[in-house]
Amino acid sequence: MTAGLPGTGIGGLFYVASALAMPVREAYRRARRRGPPTRWRFVAGQAGLALAIIAAMWGAGWLLGLAVHAVRPTLPFWGGGAHAANVLRTATLALTVGTLAAVLGGVEVLRACLVWSARRRRSTITLLAFGVAIASGHSAAAQSAISGQAAGSRDSDGNVMFRLGTTVDLAASSTTRFGLAASHARVTDGVSAAGLDEVALRGTWRPRRGSSVDVNAGLVRAAARLAPSGQVRVRWRRSSDGKGLALDVRARRGILDGTPQLLANRVARSELGGVLNVPLVGALRIRGIGRAAVLQDSLESNWRTMLGGAVVLAVLPGGEVSGQYSELRHAHASTAGYFAPRLVQVIQAGSYLEVETARELALALDVGVGVGRVAAQGAPLGPWRPALRGYAMVGLPLAGRTQLWLEVEAEDSPGAGEVATTPSWRYLSTALSLRWPLP
């Protein structure tokens, strides 16, 4: 049998790279007098095959570029200039190479975490970060940055979380970034405490304003065990002014980290969700929201689905008001540490504002006010009670192009939070981060 799909994905690139590495490896082996001496013909044959594949793909790309250039007026998404075909080709190659590097790097990190000692583990992560930096090239270093983040949160059950993290963000081109993120979090409820460590490779491709692909893959360590985590998020807007059709799709997997009990039970969430914005008339548009998640721990799996819709009116550049209705459902109750009601209904009026000044001062504000009600498993819906949410973010430019970001988030909404533990759960979180540009 052949595992994988020949010719698709990153497999083809992996084997082409393997073939191109053969002459170097063989020369090294000859120099060290290792292995049988009659391999050169085979090595040359396979390396030649790889070069022929590259040449064939280059030729196909060139022909495609010509074809696309010829029919450009008929392609609705084709807003690029004369070099658009090259951009498409380069972006595809960068994405494939980046994905392959992330997968192979992820495997090495996983191996380092499992097999090597703690000292070597640190060395590997440092080397990987250094390798990504070298691979990204010095020309892009001016746009690269390193960030540090400290965040804290507290909820109505007395759970307190403190998180420290760092991110290395390297710009490979004007549209592509790669990076490495690591963080450590500590959660306590006053009686017990638990830790969570995360390390992830990140990649972002922004082909144009408003559209992006973010990939994040890594490992999370909770309750002395490792688990994979990651996210793929695709954001697309038909027009760059933000007024047209827009889609935001996200798939993610991670460990719920709101309480020591959730961490002890290693509750993993695998979620697929999306938001679709459809313009109607003028500044009016409708928004559909859907998410489906599987919550798994060692004893059970539970489905959580969320469906919602909103009518949105753009009132200012970067601002909107909306009326939103959403329903959250769980398949059954859980003893793993999260609140799993049969149904939660929330109706909210909200407003969102995003401002960025010429001096790079950024401000975002999201407020929602409404009502919500909860039906426990096997019980009817309870009474309506207030449902509030708020989020504010301020970005301040400091000396030397350093930026300071402050985020505050609060929620008082029945059972609607990601890691809500009771029907009347409330929480407040703040995060402070500094972003230094790399020289």
Partner: protein, 335 residues
């Protein structure tokens, strides 16, 4: 030589004759008639080979082969599917692999016996591509991903010490290969040793085989991932194969059509065939060595059909095994 057979009356005779005609003749040919109902055992016995029959159907190829292992009296054991014939020098070309004591298993080049239906043609291109390019590189780096179950040779004592072929996954050949690597042994791919299995000719048969292969691959990843991480190159090859079988399959099947609709442009669907040149190069090289360029070119469209179906099955298996924990356990015979 072990030939596991369940209802293979139509093909087992060709398999046995190809073994009897080998330039390096077999000392012992054991056909395991796994309680067939079509007279497979009688067909084999008429050709003068030893036929053994378990008391009840073993339920899998792994079970049938392991049952026969107790009757093997030779230092090397060849496992050959009952729908597979060998080139006359197949065994002779495979034997040199065992000159190195560290080698525990060896496999050969696989090509479909019949290339008629769209599924057989798709598989023909898949094999030409994989065995001309991927598998040769895996061999160079010392880690063929799988010692193919349809035609592989093993050191008998080593095989016995591992308990034979395990039926804990649906891909017993992959399970055994990865177990051998983890135990520190080598596996070789000998491209000059050629075998010709009958590939699924209909979608129904192909579906059965792909279900088994896709679930078997994911089951082996789940079973061996910790051990595989300790084996250089294999860990990279497995990670890449897993990515392509899951995420890339999803992108291939879901994202491309969505993008085509969202962008209102059928040009996006070119993504399905954009890699024709990359596939074509090794295929043409492999076909030229066999003077089959015309057949290869005529079969190329079928490859893209099979690849799409392949992606669907691998994605389904990954979702079932990894997301929902629904493991496929019933071994269904396809081809």
């Amino acid at each position: 030589m072990i030939v596991p057979a369940y209802n293979e009356a139509a093909s087992v005779a060709d398999t046995i004759r190809s073994l009897q005609a080998q330039t390096a003749p077999a000392r012992q040919i054991l056909v395991v008639d796994d309680c067939s109902t079509d007279g497979t055992g009688a067909v084999a016995a008429a050709l003068g080979v030893t036929v053994v029959r378990p008391p009840a159907n073993t339920g899998s190829k792994a079970g049938a082969q392991t049952f026969a292992l107790r009757y093997v009296r030779t230092p090397l054991t060849l496992a050959l599917d009952a729908d597979t014939v060998l080139a006359r020098d197949g065994i002779e070309r495979l034997l040199p692999a065992f000159e190195r004591p560290a080698v525990a298993a060896a496999c050969g080049f696989v090509l479909p016996q019949r290339v008629r239906s769209v599924w057989e043609r798709g598989r023909y291109i898949e094999y030409l591509f994989a065995f001309t390019f991927y598998k040769q590189l895996q061999e160079y780096y010392g880690k063929p991903l799988i010692s193919s179950g349809c035609f592989s040779m093993y050191r008998t004592e080593l095989l016995r010490s591992l308990g034979g072929w395990s039926d804990r996954t649906l891909a017993e050949d992959m399970d055994l290969t990865w177990s051998l690597y983890q135990a520190g042994h080598d596996v070789r791919f000998m491209p000059e040793a050629v075998c010709y299995p009958i590939e699924p000719r209909t979608f129904r048969l192909m579906r059965t085989q792909l279900r088994r292969w896709s679930h078997g691959f994911i089951q082996n990843v789940k079973l061996h991932w910790r051990g595989v991480l300790t084996v250089p190159y294999l860990r990279s090859a497995v990670a890449v194969a897993l990515w392509d079988a899951t995420v890339a399959a999803g992108l291939y099947l879901i994202i491309l059509p969505i993008l085509a609709v969202l962008l209102a442009s059928p040009w996006v669907l070119l993504g399905y065939v954009i890699d024709i040149p990359a596939v074509l190069v090794p295929v043409i090289v492999g076909a030229a060595r066999r003077r089959e360029i015309g057949r290869a070119l005529a079969s190329m469209p079928a490859f893209f059909v099979l690849r799409t179906v392949n992606a669907l099955f691998f994605l389904r298996a990954a979702i079932a095994e990894l997301l929902f924990g629904r493991s496929l356990r019933v071994y269904e015979k396809g081809h």
